[in-house]
């Protein structure tokens, strides 16, 4: 039986703004399946985003949706979660939004280990503004502001999240559609800050400038560079050159922030 996405999508809000071939729609469908698998009550679920193509995602979903300012999604979401810890909080957005202008909020949300699920769509570029390089644009690649090739080194978003203290970090790609919802499901179930990095494609502003002849080529690349964590353990460093690990990269149990604050309330003699 075909999966029924319509019950989660706001009537009249499609078509979406994303270009043909963009992977954000694949991620959105994965998120819908994950929310369903976790039986999230959408009345009690906030989906928070920043600015950019990926940040338009919440508007399509039937929930409490908050499209904030550029880079600030994690900080707005922290306010929502602190004020109403019983709400499910999902954050989504792109690589520039989350790790450049929003980098400080991102690492501190990870450090606090506040119970939110951050789905970060990494398409290596600022798409909405026309293809300027982001902290994730590979060194040497072309962007509208790196006509001679990008001199900047990149952020590895998942490593950044682990280093900053996130207690669940996973990575997949827009090619691995069914893995997206499995990992988001695990992230939602995890108590603490979960980051799910989805390597994504932007054929319009990144692909064209970097010699990808088609969306299929971009998808094929996502497939080719991916190595599941388990398989990687049996591979040599040489074999892993240029590859990206996928699956659950890091998971640990640590006290969650709103639970810690409940203890503060107890110590102060208050009733939560």
């Amino acid at each position: 039986m075909a999966y029924d996405y319509d019950k989660s999508i706001r009537p009249g809000k499609l078509p979406h703004i994303w270009c043909p071939g963009c992977g954000h729609g694949i991620v959105m469908k994965g998120l819908i399946r994950a929310m369903d698998t976790c039986e999230l009550d959408r009345d009690n679920t906030a989906i928070v985003s920043g600015i950019g193509c990926a940040s338009r995602l919440p508007g399509y979903l039937d929930a409490c949706t908050l499209h904030t300012a550029h880079g600030r999604a994690a900080a707005f979401a922290t306010g929502v979660k602190m004020a109403k810890p019983e709400m499910n909080v999902i954050v989504c957005g792109g690589d520039g939004d989350g790790t450049a202008i929003g980098g400080n909020h991102f690492i501190h949300a990870c450090r606090r280990n506040i119970d939110m699920t951050y789905v970060i769509m990494n398409n290596y570029i600022y798409g909405m503004t026309g293809g300027q390089f982001s902290p994730c644009t590979p060194t040497g690649d072309k962007a509208s502001t790196t006509p001679y090739g990008n001199p900047d080194p990149i952020f590895d978003i998942s490593k950044l999240a682990i280093g900053a203290g996130a207690t669940f970090v996973a990575r997949t790609t827009a090619f691995h559609a069914t893995q997206i919802d499995k990992l988001i499901t695990e992230g939602i179930k995890h108590k603490g800050l979960a980051v799910i990095e989805v390597l994504d494609d932007c054929p319009t502003t990144y692909g064209r400038r970097n010699k990808f002849r088609s969306v299929v080529d971009m998808m094929k690349r996502l497939k080719d560079i991916s190595v599941p964590v388990a398989a990687a353990s049996k591979m040599t460093a040489e074999q892993l050159e240029g590859k990206t690990l996928t699956g659950i990269l890091h998971q640990e149990d640590k006290p969650e922030y709103t639970a810690m604050y409940k203890e503060v309330i107890k110590r102060a003699g208050g009733a939560a």
Binding site: G59, C64, H67, T68, F76, T78, V80, M82, N104, R267
Partner: protein, 379 residues
């Protein structure tokens, strides 16, 4: 039973005023000279099940406050000039998304780091014009510790009533000065909560103007699912670029504050010996206290001086300022900046009387002697 009276610093009075108003969330970042507001609330909020969070930066603090407010909490942040500069984009977000919240700005000088431990009144134009785009602003300027308490309560009331950010500005002198503060009994000061929707979730629109210029606001997690954005939006909360809808939205966000009924509700001024005054000293915050002393001294010398003290600075008290400009020979505007509100006084007076400023930005308060000298000079 006698009321509780405590010797409080202005910043402490602010924190207790916020609690009286029902504040249940504080998101902040340390900055002199406002930090005591955060320190007091970090101790008091958890006692009542409220939430205190020290965010990673000023912008994050403002973001957390808006997020918390959307869940129904009365939310507060406190900062000073550099922090307000950083918060400006999100103050604009709270304007367009019509989210109630209160921002305390304990003013120091500037620009940039300036003199962090000295007083200033140089953020008064920033309070109105700091964020980009057309918008309305409400800013209150208390002059004593007691008034900081009550104006903080009023700031929450106005934020909730008009669904917008409200700023409370006081200079470092009042922020760090200690005065006896009488705690009002519960119910003694009015406490206003935002209007909740009267329709069910299916019919709810977050910017439904059939309920007036200030549509009811549902809390996230209360059964109402809706969309909030910083883009220009239609009544259903979703983005629009339709010219007529954008125009109506932009104009309503200003008219909800600037219509005559709202203005009468929001404006608050104090006048002292203005009835027969030939010279008006137009002053706010701690500068108004020096001005009151100056008025008394001038009266002893037979000079008919009076004090006009705005407590609501924005919207600007246009009507009363214009009337006083017609009545008086001169208006003297002392302020701890190099001439900000004097520009508004000049605009409204339209040449009806002489206008002169007394300005000081060296970290020292304006003393009565300076004001008296300027009054004598201008008359």
């Amino acid at each position: 039973m006698a009321k509780k009276v405590a010797l409080l610093q202005g910043n402490e009075a602010c924190a207790h005023g916020a609690l009286y108003a029902g504040c249940s969330f504080f998101g902040g970042y340390p900055i002199t000279p406002s930090t005591e507001v955060a320190e007091v609330l970090s101790g008091e909020l958890p006692k009542i099940g409220g939430k205190f969070i020290q965010m990673e930066d000023e912008i994050g603090a403002m973001a957390s406050v808006i997020g918390a407010s959307l869940t129904g909490a009365k939310a507060l942040t406190a900062t000073s000039g550099p922090g307000v500069s950083l918060k400006q984009e999100l103050i604009g977000y709270a304007c367009i998304a019509e989210t109630p919240c209160v921002i305390i700005n304990v003013m120091r000088g500037g620009p940039s780091t300036g003199m962090p431990t000295g007083p200033g009144q140089s953020d008064v134009m920033q309070a109105m014009w700091g964020t980009h785009g057309d918008h309305a602003a409400i800013a209150l300027v208390p002059a004593s510790c007691q008034e900081i308490f009550s104006e903080t309560v009023r700031a929450f009331n106005l934020a909730e009533k008009y669904r917008m950010p409200v700023q409370v500005l006081y200079d470092e002198i009042v922020g760090h000065m200690r005065e006896p503060v009488e705690f009002p009994e519960p119910g003694e000061l009015e406490v206003i909560d935002r209007t909740a929707p009267s329709v069910g979730p299916e019919a709810y629109k977050p910017y439904d103007t059939s309920f007036g210029d200030v549509p009811p606001l549902a809390a996230f997690g209360s059964g109402y699912k809706y969309h909030v954005t910083g883009l220009n939006k239609a009544e259903d909360g979703f983005p629009t670029t339709k010219a007529d809808l954008v125009d109506a939205e932009e104009r309503r966000q200003i008219s909800k504050v600037k219509n005559p009924t709202a203005l009468a509700d929001i404006e608050s001024n104090e006048e002292y010996l203005t009835e027969d005054a030939e010279v008006i000293i137009w002053a706010y915050g701690s500068t108004a206290r020096s001005s009151r002393y100056a008025v008394n001294e001038l009266r002893k010398e037979g000079i008919k001086a009076g004090l006009f003290r705005p407590i609501t600075l924005w919207p600007f008290p246009e009507k009363r300022t214009a009337e006083l400009a017609k009545q008086a020979k001169a208006i003297v505007v002392p302020e701890m900046n190099l001439g900000q509100m004097i520009l508004e006084v000049e605009r409204v007076a339209m040449g009806a009387c002489k206008i002169a400023g007394v300005h000081r930005v060296d970290g020292e308060p304006i003393n009565p002697g300076q004001i008296i000298a300027q009054v004598k000079e201008v008359l």
